[in-house]
């Protein structure tokens, strides 16, 4: 008997194979024009002059070491802090768990500049600080750990632990010998993703590191924008790319194991009142929640206070024009919303098409390769992409460089991997026999997509759209490059404000951060209420 799930699809009429190929060509074509081409152009531009000169500079290796070191430290902190939350999300009957999950998620989608500013406000320092960078990066990614690990944890049958306890294992022993091994795929997957995010973190390092602590990402930015040292930037991009590929490979390996283990059924009675030492974990989770709230509160307080006392000067200044900004803060917010909306529908189109192609391809290697190719934008410095656009896109008809769609294009590219990683696991977990059933009832291949796959993935699509939207809102690396001066987005405006001295400018920057944070948090709360129980990977 053959009872395949997921991987093996029945034979398709020849036309469908052609459509799949066409879809693949479309997706990869977009990726080629708006990602590969600009990136390769930048690399070639840089590599014309010597690599060895850059590689032999001790400075380069210091930066590499710091990049990896801070990413590793941040990952460890995020894992340690995320585990208690994962436990609470998966195992403890908390009232209004959706709200809790939303609160945990807010930091993850906050724009990097906002987080940088929030930690600056919290620690009260303007001095560069490596620890602030590590804490801020961890702050971001605790949600990734809590959700990825918690999602799998909730699906583990708690009776396995009960059995271990029944056989004489203490609570810690049972956790170490039963729960932890079962969670390993999610842990690896989370660690790889967090490491990836931390090693390419940009805004946080820019704000908190000053000139002293530099990572590959900020260095690429500085070399390109400030020093116009393209060869240096290109070599560093290559270095970063290699590191990212390694992290992605680990993530893909862990992910495959997880997707194959994923069942759509949620174990009954998975949550129960904690007892004994479990309260320690709950208390730890509470402490983590407070720690997550602290920078946000600090940012709020800082935005309405100055050296002389409480003030709304920042907000007042934001609503007018003049100063360093060409437009008012509200106008910048409006620009952000518009660009993010455009980026979201583009990324949805591209991402959904990519997911359909990825679940239609029959060749395993083709699937793996395409899956990996679609994840690449995660790993390439957004700065590189942005700069690449400026170098290449004038070749295309209808000069895109002056088009208002340029920023959304770049943002769409950044959020498409996110969209895919949210929708794809759900599509992959649909039992192939449900599709077979639809086929025997007279539904053709594309009808099955519409009638079975899309409705089942519906909530994942909503989630993907929401997360994509908020990430696009906060995107700065590429946007900072491409936004026209007369139409800055909020992050671009914030960056401009930080760069200027003066109490009022700082005050305005904090106010703008609060504005961006409120928009983001609001979007997350809306998504969470619509969201399916089954989380994707981020």
């Amino acid at each position: 008997m053959t009872r395949e799930r997921g991987t093996h699809a029945g034979p398709r009429p020849r036309g469908h194979g052609a459509t799949t190929t066409a879809g693949a060509v479309l997706v990869l074509g977009f990726l080629g024009v708006f990602f590969a081409w600009p990136v390769v152009a930048i690399l070639r531009l840089g590599l014309r002059s010597g690599i060895d000169e850059v590689l032999t500079r001790p400075d380069t290796w210091r930066i590499v070491a710091f990049t990896l070191g801070q990413a590793a430290a941040s990952t460890v902190v995020a894992l340690l802090a995320g585990m208690p939350l994962a436990y609470v999300l998966a195992r403890v009957p908390v009232p209004a768990k959706a709200v809790l999950r939303a609160l945990i998620t807010v930091p993850f989608v906050l724009p990097t500049l906002v987080v940088g500013m929030a930690f600056r406000a919290l620690l009260g320092v303007s001095e560069p600080s490596a620890w602030a960078i590590v804490l801020a990066n961890a702050f971001f990614n605790i949600a990734v750990v809590a959700r990825t690990v918690g999602g799998l944890w909730a699906q583990l049958d708690p009776r396995a632990t009960d059995a271990a306890r029944g056989l004489g294992a203490g609570p810690f022993r049972a956790f170490r010998t039963v729960t932890l091994p079962a969670l390993r795929p999610a842990l690896w997957s989370a660690a790889a993703v967090v490491f990836l995010f931390c090693s390419t973190s940009f805004g946080v390092v820019l704000v908190l590191g000053g000139g002293r602590y530099r990572t590959l990402e900020t260095e690429i930015y500085l070399r390109t924008v400030r020093l116009l040292d393209l060869p240096g930037a290109a070599v560093l991009s290559l270095l970063q790319f290699a590191a990212v590929l390694a992290a992605l490979a680990v993530a893909a390996f862990a992910r495959r194991r997880r997707e194959s283990a994923l069942t759509l059924r949620r174990a009954r009675g998975a949550t129960r009142r904690p007892s004994g030492v479990e309260w320690v974990t709950v208390a730890a989770a509470g402490a983590v929640l407070l720690a997550l709230a602290a920078p946000i509160l600090a940012l709020l307080v800082r935005s309405v206070s100055s050296r002389t006392g409480w003030t709304l000067a920042g907000y007042r200044a934001l609503s007018g024009t003049g100063g360093v900004l060409d437009v008012s803060g509200w106008q910048a917010a409006w620009n952000s919303l518009r660009a993010a909306t455009d980026a979201t529908w583009m990324a949805l189109l591209l991402g959904i098409l990519a997911c359909l192609v990825l679940t239609s391809l029959r060749n395993r290697w083709a699937t793996e390769l395409m899956d990996a190719a679609l994840m690449l934008p995660l790993g390439v410095s957004a700065v590189t992409v942005g700069f690449g656009y400026l170098v290449t896109l004038h070749v295309l008809p209808g000069d895109l460089r002056t088009s208002p769609l340029l920023v959304p294009f770049a943002q769409a590219l950044v959020i498409t991997p996110l969209v895919i990683r949210t929708i794809l696991p759900v599509l992959r977990s649909v039992d192939q026999r449900v599709r077979s059933a639809a086929a025997t009832l007279g539904a053709g291949p594309w009808r099955i997509r519409r009638e079975v796959d899309l409705p089942l993935a519906g909530r994942a699509v909503v989630t993907a759209a929401g997360f994509g939207f908020v990430v696009a809102l906060g995107e700065f690396g590429a946007t900072g490059f491409l936004a026209r001066p007369e139409a800055p987005t909020l992050p671009v405006a914030i960056s401009a404000l930080i760069g200027r001295p003066g109490e009022l400018n700082t005050q305005m920057a904090y106010a703008a951060c609060v504005l961006l944070m409120l928009v983001t948090a609001g979007a997350v709360l809306v998504i969470e209420t619509l969201r399916s129980d089954l989380s994707g990977e981020f």
Binding site: M1, T2, R3, G10, P11, R12, P13, D431, R433, V434, S436, A437, A438, A439, T440, L441, G442, A443, G444, R447, E451, V452, P455, L456, G458
Partner: protein
């Protein structure tokens, strides 16, 4: 039909109807391979219209593959599939007009019961009112009237399977394929649903192929049964003949014959080491084999009844069943027979180690034709 008919000794298969050549499902030399493994090899089967064929076999015998290939969900590497004389090899699943009921329902979780049942009608752009009426009628016919708005997740296993059946029937399929439709259900529910299914088939004059590993299910629902083993059809017969005249030892063992003995048929009777039964008319004379089910041997305490010439055995194990006691015995005088199963009544219980007398009961004896190529049988 050659392989399906088995050898001449099995006796005649029920006469094929005259329409058989043009109508219904026909599989010719159907072969399915996955890489280097062969799931089906050279299967020939014909299912005339208005007949239900059960494909019976142990797990891994290829029966689900057979069904999926007929549905168009698997590609075959050799041979042909046709319906009413029309070749289906190039026809995709959704245009074959076959309905399928999957093992555990595979209902659409995102639709309610009515949304599941009217799926096929929507695929054919049937109007809303007609859909509503058809759904109501179908749900009533499977005993779920008024369940339209129920969520699929709220259904019990039996109800889900009924909805799956209604959903498949809504397409008015010219052939209904059922993949172990009852195997996920508990025993009582399974029996009740099997009877209901049989009724639905009867009323609708259904043409169908049912795949199962459970012979009760096959015998209840099917007109003819094909036994599939190792990707080949071992025997195609009516339920009665399959049970009483298995074509090979493997089939006999699969159908519950724990012991196979050599026997000889003369004009009057068929005899083996444990006794004889009257020769049925359809059995030719000459060497044959017996397949013994537990009910084929009756054990009686031999105390005080000696010298009748019947074989004596010693009780090794006792197992209480609902209406009889099953004994495991061995025959000291003929150790070659090994352990045998026999039944005895509750009233006359032999102790462990006690001697019993064995008699053959023809209702529990299957007659298997002797074949030169077959392995040596036990005893």
């Amino acid at each position: 039909m050659r392989a399906a008919l088995g050898d001449a000794e099995t006796g005649p298969v029920p006469p094929p109807t005259s329409r058989e050549r043009e109508e219904g499902l026909r599989l010719e030399g159907l072969t399915v391979r996955y890489g280097s493994t062969t799931a089906l090899s050279g299967v020939d089967l014909v299912v005339p219209r208005n007949e239900v064929l059960a494909v019976l076999g142990p797990s891994g015998c290829g029966k689900t593959t057979l069904l999926r290939t007929v549905a168009g969900l698997e590609r075959h590497s050799q041979g042909g599939i046709s319906f009413d004389g029309v070749d289906l090899s190039r026809v995709p699943v959704h245009r074959r007009g076959f309905g399928m009921v999957f093992q555990d329902g595979q209902l659409f979780g995102h639709r309610d019961v009515a949304g599941n049942v009217d799926f096929a009608l929507r695929m054919r752009s049937v109007g809303r009112r007609e859909r509503r009426e058809t759904v109501a009628r179908l749900l009533e016919s499977v005993g779920l009237a008024g369940y339209q708005r129920r969520r699929v997740a709220e259904l019990s296993g039996g109800q889900a399977q009924r909805v799956a059946l209604a959903r498949a029937l809504a397409a008015e399929p010219r052939l209904l394929l059922l993949d172990e439709p009852l195997s996920g259900l508990d025993r009582i529910l399974r029996e009740r649903l099997a009877v209901d299914l049989a009724r639905v088939f009867d009323r609708a004059s259904m043409t169908g192929v049912l795949v199962t590993h459970d012979h009760d299910e096959a015998f209840t629902l099917a007109d003819r049964v094909a036994v599939l083993m190792g990707g080949r059809v071992e025997q195609l017969d009516t339920p009665w003949r399959l049970w009483h005249r298995p074509a090979t030892e493997e089939v006999a063992r699969f159908l519950g014959c724990g012991t196979v003995l050599t026997a000889y048929a003369d004009d009057e009777a068929i005899s083996c080491a444990l006794g004889s039964i009257p020769r049925p008319e359809d059995c030719p004379t000459g060497p044959v084999r017996f397949g013994l089910r537990a009910a084929g041997l009756r054990a009686v305490r031999s105390t005080g009844r000696s010298g009748t010439g019947e074989p004596r055995a010693v009780v090794r194990e006792r197992l209480h069943r609902h209406d009889h006691v099953r004994l495991t015995v061995d025959v000291p005088e003929d150790p070659g027979l090994g352990e045998l199963e026999a039944v005895t009544a509750h009233g006359d219980l032999a102790e462990l180690g006690e001697e019993v007398t064995l008699t053959l009961d023809s209702t529990g004896v299957a007659v298997i034709p002797e074949k030169s190529r077959s392995r040596d049988s036990v005893g």
